[in-house]
Subunit: 365 residues, 4 copies
Amino acid sequence: MSKQKLHLAMIGSGFIGKVHSNAFRQVSHFFDVPYELQLRVICGRNRDKLQGAAAQWGWEEIETDWQAVTARKDIDAVDIAAPNALHAPIAIAAAEAGKIVLCEKPLALSLEEAKSMAQAVRRVPNLVWFNYRRLPAVAFAKQLIEEGRLGKIFHYRGLYLNQSGNDPTKASGWRYKRSVAGTGATGDLLSHLIDLALYLNGPITELNAMTHTFAPGRDVDDAALLSVRFANGSIGSFEVSRYGVGCQNRNTFEINGSKGMLRFTLDDMNRLDFFDATETPDLQGIRSIPTTGPNHPYWQNFWRPGHPIGYEHPFIATLADFLHAWARQEPFHVNFEDAVAVQRVLDAVERSATSRNWVRLGKDS
Amino acid sequence: MSKQKLHLAMIGSGFIGKVHSNAFRQVSHFFDVPYELQLRVICGRNRDKLQGAAAQWGWEEIETDWQAVTARKDIDAVDIAAPNALHAPIAIAAAEAGKIVLCEKPLALSLEEAKSMAQAVRRVPNLVWFNYRRLPAVAFAKQLIEEGRLGKIFHYRGLYLNQSGNDPTKASGWRYKRSVAGTGATGDLLSHLIDLALYLNGPITELNAMTHTFAPGRDVDDAALLSVRFANGSIGSFEVSRYGVGCQNRNTFEINGSKGMLRFTLDDMNRLDFFDATETPDLQGIRSIPTTGPNHPYWQNFWRPGHPIGYEHPFIATLADFLHAWARQEPFHVNFEDAVAVQRVLDAVERSATSRNWVRLGKDS
Amino acid sequence: MSKQKLHLAMIGSGFIGKVHSNAFRQVSHFFDVPYELQLRVICGRNRDKLQGAAAQWGWEEIETDWQAVTARKDIDAVDIAAPNALHAPIAIAAAEAGKIVLCEKPLALSLEEAKSMAQAVRRVPNLVWFNYRRLPAVAFAKQLIEEGRLGKIFHYRGLYLNQSGNDPTKASGWRYKRSVAGTGATGDLLSHLIDLALYLNGPITELNAMTHTFAPGRDVDDAALLSVRFANGSIGSFEVSRYGVGCQNRNTFEINGSKGMLRFTLDDMNRLDFFDATETPDLQGIRSIPTTGPNHPYWQNFWRPGHPIGYEHPFIATLADFLHAWARQEPFHVNFEDAVAVQRVLDAVERSATSRNWVRLGKDS
Amino acid sequence: MSKQKLHLAMIGSGFIGKVHSNAFRQVSHFFDVPYELQLRVICGRNRDKLQGAAAQWGWEEIETDWQAVTARKDIDAVDIAAPNALHAPIAIAAAEAGKIVLCEKPLALSLEEAKSMAQAVRRVPNLVWFNYRRLPAVAFAKQLIEEGRLGKIFHYRGLYLNQSGNDPTKASGWRYKRSVAGTGATGDLLSHLIDLALYLNGPITELNAMTHTFAPGRDVDDAALLSVRFANGSIGSFEVSRYGVGCQNRNTFEINGSKGMLRFTLDDMNRLDFFDATETPDLQGIRSIPTTGPNHPYWQNFWRPGHPIGYEHPFIATLADFLHAWARQEPFHVNFEDAVAVQRVLDAVERSATSRNWVRLGKDS
């Protein structure tokens, strides 16, 4: 049972790099993946920090020049966990060198950039780390929707709030600079909501957006409000903010349809709320379903029913699904093309907020 | 459509007297009751306070001698909202005078007293204000149990906590004196739990109890813990305390059966939690059912679905059911005999706590 | 202590008429109001229904011609609980006859109509039944905001969802016809959200709105989404729908400020959530405050701490505050002018939804 | 920075073996532990299953004879993840061979056995996997109690319910056989509650217990109810059941003291509820504190504030604390002596349930 080895390089050594390293280490413990991962090199700017991360997670080597990494012959896959502005140059260089490319979200600084990245990776296996799709609760929601349990969809509602913007200790990082981050709350938070909405409810056809920056002198948005229309006839509202005081990491969606309702919040990520409007009226109520099993997505991979998983597990499941899809030559999502669809919405948000007008979204807009 | 008049006297002018007065005033507004209530006389010790209450609620007269009240020919019904030690003398005098008798809980200071009261009222319509049975959520729970929705019952769990004992401003009232109150948390709080348990889960066959008094020098119990066996084979636990810091008025029960679970808390009294263990496993979850309708008990009497009722409404429903039962010559519950059954359990609690032994409960013990 | 009598007429005999009747009956039981209310005449179209309502609530007479009512000399105050299209003609006639005017929300079918009504009642005491301001939780939220507990406000978020539109048994009533209701979810639900937002967070300076009708052939809106800017620099989002399947009556707001957060939901109306961002970080969490006392608004009028009130109690408090204000010659809110401010926002919503543009709100727009 | 190697053997390959393997793999990723763990051999009865587990988690060798394992010279530490009946023979053999001993809970089949095990390991580093102490919420609760935030303790309340007994697919395992498991719900569930109670609230001085078996023919308890007195003057109630239908894994405690209340439930394990009774009355409410940071126990080891951890993380923290304590020659808890204290309570439970009497607990009983 000797598996093919997959030699990895990771560029980035911050928080999300830790999350990716964990996924690389853990994937074979929970999934029977068809490859044996080799953590060859971790790349970043600070040599001391790199040495610490390498020792902690077992990266064999450290490197401070990402171009040296993408040029190496002994690397099969490049994982991008660097600040947003580096996603495009690294992804394109890696793809041109024939590497598998994994990239943290949001994909790019702009729609144009995203498109060129997707073009660059079109011949190599590629992944974007929109991790929330693989939360058991979210994957189960998808299944219930596809079974028709919600009937005709009327409303989609997404909310993602944290309070980082109100915290003076955080507000100086790269996420608050347009040149490095591209956008603020929209790229950071709204991108997650949009990916889930496109996954669960299909394409958005038009939107109206407002963005706002609370901090004087900051050149990225702190908050955004959206009204949208979906191709399936439903309407949607989205709100994101880094000034949602009281919320450390509140990521929620709610979907109302003619036959029922689904509701999720990351604060309670091992559960999914379901309302069945076809039940006899006096027994109707929102039920809180623990999604740790039995029979929920990934329930046999992790723990037992009633034993919660944590923030990192959907990253592990994402990686496992990617490796399986690649081995079977099957399509994998979220790939760069899917992330372009998210970026197209973010781009429309920016245009609508600037023009103060509704913006239509076409497949090629 | 001229209805028979019913001339009422109420003895007591404290908080619960306000609640009863409200029920007398409101019952015809929400229920088509067969009598027209006349609020003739309110009786208490403090003339100023009585005048205020009479003006507020429309009692025609005030009186400071309860024996004068029970002796009056123009009174049809006597409602007892006085401290516990007065329940027996008033109820017996009123019954002997042929009055309808309504009495606040707990019925009596002792089982013996309760039995003599029940004996005294056996020929007159009588009611004990165990109000919680008429909460829509509780009445709906009863209905679901009778439909067999829980299957065979395994567990009954009752908890009633407040923090009054820890509040120096409250601890000097009559409820903290054995001579007036009989017991402490057991009569005040446990009596409610036991009435609901007997109603929802049937007779208790044996119990083991522990009581405790936290405040030095206080001669009533502040808290009690019970383990019980029910006649239906289930086991039960009960806990009450006036030192449940954090809880203003937390009255809960939970019932686990082979086919499902029910859970209620007074903190959220317009809802009932239900778990259906016969549902397909991946859709099982505790559902929170709003019990304001449609089709829930009393839903057409009060407001509309989704419009909550308050603390006072089950008192109104209790009175309405009593008046209807009387008019139809049908049995009404909770009557004095039912309250004797509660008192029998409270008596066993005291004996078990004193003897530190299990106590068996017979029908005639 | 003989009080001045106030002779009332009520026009309307539906659900909200029941709620008003209850307030008229109950106000003197919970508040020491300076007037004695006389329920003289209830007016509607269906004589049988009127007779039932009169018997139930003690209205002395019934009447089917509202113009006869407003013309009567023996009536001091006219309460309007009729469908929206009748608000203006009745209010104007009553005001011209010198009556006190109380009117259900939304005030009018249009901003123009609302202004003319406000003009008509300018010399008589007047009230609009925006009941939610007098929920203890809401009044307490106002108090905390005024104390500066939230600091600088960043976000206001209002949501009001029910599922009436998805219920075929309901969708034929007058609320679904433009000629009688004026609008759909906006007048019915959004008006409540806007009144609370103006009360708690001050004026709105501009907005962008989208409305949607799900039911074919229906000529009122079923849902609306708004993005707004407030004069205090905060931004707001509002969403209302009659297709919020899973929600019987979910009316919520959340306010995020630099020092804290407040959150309310009508599903749990005896509580207010508060987050104190000035607390030491490891003890920060959203606290659920029971607003039944001690020291909360109206807590001495109704029951005891931990004893919940119901849907009807804020109506009673509204009436009590109105009567007191009138007796003291003090301003009362919500009055017709306040309701014009709400209508101004509803008008802007309609204009924005039609034009698909942002609309600015001036004091005189 | 080359660390001392620690050569591990694990005996057992079921669910809990997976949890332990994960802890061995993950500990160095989240904690800077002073040893390098070598996963040398996994031992069990089923060779195929062992090979799978070894491949999955990287155990170098497999073995089916545990005595061969404890006899090996190249093993430093033996981890016991086997059924309860094997804990004593393995632990004693391993200790006699000078190995470090780690053992799953409950420690033993009986108090006598537990004492002999503690005696056997007294000279080697030892650990019992009572994992819940290292939940951040629990460790934070301990800290708040030690700071005096609860004042004088009145009540301790523990509840642990699952529904495994009502599930025919589960009821045939070794956990349902006295010869292998020793007890049923008491060893499985109550042991966890008691360990936490002793940790958070100190010694129990006497108890009264009732146990019950619902399934005909089963020779272990399915449920237990306890009333207890603690040395600190507080009273406690405990309830455990495998027939808690509706609950997959509900493990809760609540502590009421003169100054506040703490409440925890495993269903929401990244949070701790806290009520501060010293706060101004109108602002008092139960607050839900996310315990993922900042400044909560272990918050820097795992993810970021608002990013939940899962079931496995407290096992990792337990192992890390053990390794650090050993390296520093400091005491570690939970050790075998601590587990004897738990077993002493379980023993008293059995004696009380059999004798139907209160049982006193002495240090040497």
